[in-house]
Symmetry: C2
Subunit: 294 residues, 2 copies
């Protein structure tokens, strides 16, 4: 049984006559190959990466499991080749998800002039140039009654510098829709220590990824996203965080040619700084850091 | 007694009717203010930085000592305002010097369209975009007889990806002009462990700077350079390296606005990777790393 994914927050969506990803009930995720060379380049990356013996095991966990490609009936009704991956939201019935495109530059040096101009415009109009990343999509699970907080894509595209810290807070709050601008108290960051902090939280995972990026010269990940996921309902079951970080979208990956991916690494470090500020603030409040409660 | 500096490797040079830096015999360096707003912005940075109490002392040593500004007879003969700094090459009679412009992007988000287009062109044509930095100037002291190896500026501007690693090796070699392409043995990297490696070498200094850049959100250093300096003749006097790293050229520094300088940091990490590869190789050869000699 194929259907459209419930928890997609960014990227192409399947619709009437529109190609988009599909999922089945065995936990596989089918991403239609994009028509131009982006599709074949994403396949080339997955093939290269999955057979590359220079990728440490602890780094491999940050990437989707790849099962190959398959021609199948697409969301448009006709046959189309798809990349087959493990569904990332599997095992999280009510996932809170955030998609963050990393890098102040989303184009590679070998792209066409027209493509570079298009990307540069988007990078300058969004927070990519000033911040080194931009938030492309977000959904936060509130509860059975309220369901998900999921701002629409137009809003996400317009997020500026000041919104970014707010959105990163919303992601780990029980009241994500509360805005101080509209008289609310603002997001409470009640899950910050659990989701972002701790030994297995998102910050620890980002730092692990950073260590690899300081050294790896295999790939340059242009226009890739980091996906943050956790399920609030599963948080009470144990102390260990179920929060997870994955890299996705590899249509513009190029060879590293012996140079580190300084563009990705810079954006990653910028994001780490934002997240660690939120964790430090949460620790201050709870006194976890040994500091006086505010 | 004012004169033109002996060891300038990049930037505007004083000449007949041309503004350029001057030095005096008391160890001061006079940099003429650039006519447009770049001059005033560089002064603004030095004023802000020198009075900023949030700069740790161990970071301050990476910046030139600033004495203020002074209107004085310029290299052109007429009165002109100058920035007064401590001469960086002071105490090194025969300095080997390398100027490396850091960042894959040399323009700030608030620059004019024309300026952005001009910088972007240079960044794409040089190694800035692919590598995150470009080498702008170099001189390597060989010895009393041969003097300095100092490739001309046209050559430096044309250095491509493959040249960068070679030039970084030349900087720490006793035979910097030896090229494998012309039948030579290639640079011997005989000073790599001493200049780049060790507890007070350039790599250690870059890592110290990196730690600050991972956290500091005060300034964004667009189009800044790192200057590497050492004096080969002083190397035998003690075990401690006389190699030094300085940041220079602050005409395009902007406020950090709570965001780290991911563009500078990314380029710095890329440079660190190149240098640490050279150090590791040198250690392999000397067995310092406990590894078998090649």
């Amino acid at each position: 049984m194929l259907k459209t994914p419930d928890h997609q927050v960014a990227g192409h969506e399947a619709g009437l006559g529109k190609l988009g990803p599909l999922v089945d009930d065995s936990g596989r995720f089918y991403k239609p190959l994009q028509g131009d060379k982006r599709g074949s380049e994403e396949v080339a990356f997955y093939e290269s990466f999955s057979s590359n013996t220079n990728i440490p095991e602890h780094v491999r966990k940050f990437f989707p499991v790849y099962y190959g490609t398959k021609v199948m009936k697409a969301s448009t009704g006709s046959d189309h080749p798809h990349i087959v991956l493990k569904d990332l939201t599997l095992g999280r019935p009510n996932p809170s998800v955030m998609d963050i495109k990393i890098g102040s530059r989303t184009w590679g040096p070998e792209a066409s002039e027209a493509y570079i101009a298009k990307c540069l415009k988007k990078d300058r109009e969004s927070t990519s140039v000033p911040l080194g990343f931009r938030i492309s999509g977000l959904q936060v699970y509130i509860g059975e009654e309220s369901g998900f907080y999921k701002p629409d894509r137009t809003y996400m595209r317009q997020t500026g510098l000041d919104d970014v810290s707010l959105i990163l807070r919303k992601f780990v709050s029980s009241n994500p829709s509360s805005d101080t601008e509209t008289g609310g108290q603002g997001p409470d960051c009640s899950l910050a220590s659990y989701v972002y902090g701790g030994p297995s939280g998102i910050l620890a995972q980002l730092l692990e990824l950073k260590t690899w990026f300081e050294d790896q010269t295999l790939y340059h990940f242009h226009a890739c996203s980091l996906l943050f996921m956790f399920d609030k309902a599963l948080t009470s079951e144990g102390a260990r965080s179920n929060a997870e970080v994955k890299l996705i979208d590899f249509a513009h990956v190029t060879d590293g040619n012996g140079v580190i991916d300084h563009n990705f690494l810079g954006g990653l470090c910028s994001l780490i700084k934002f997240i660690s500020d939120i964790v430090a603030e949460a620790n201050d409040h709870t006194g976890t850091n040994g500091k006086v409660e505010l």
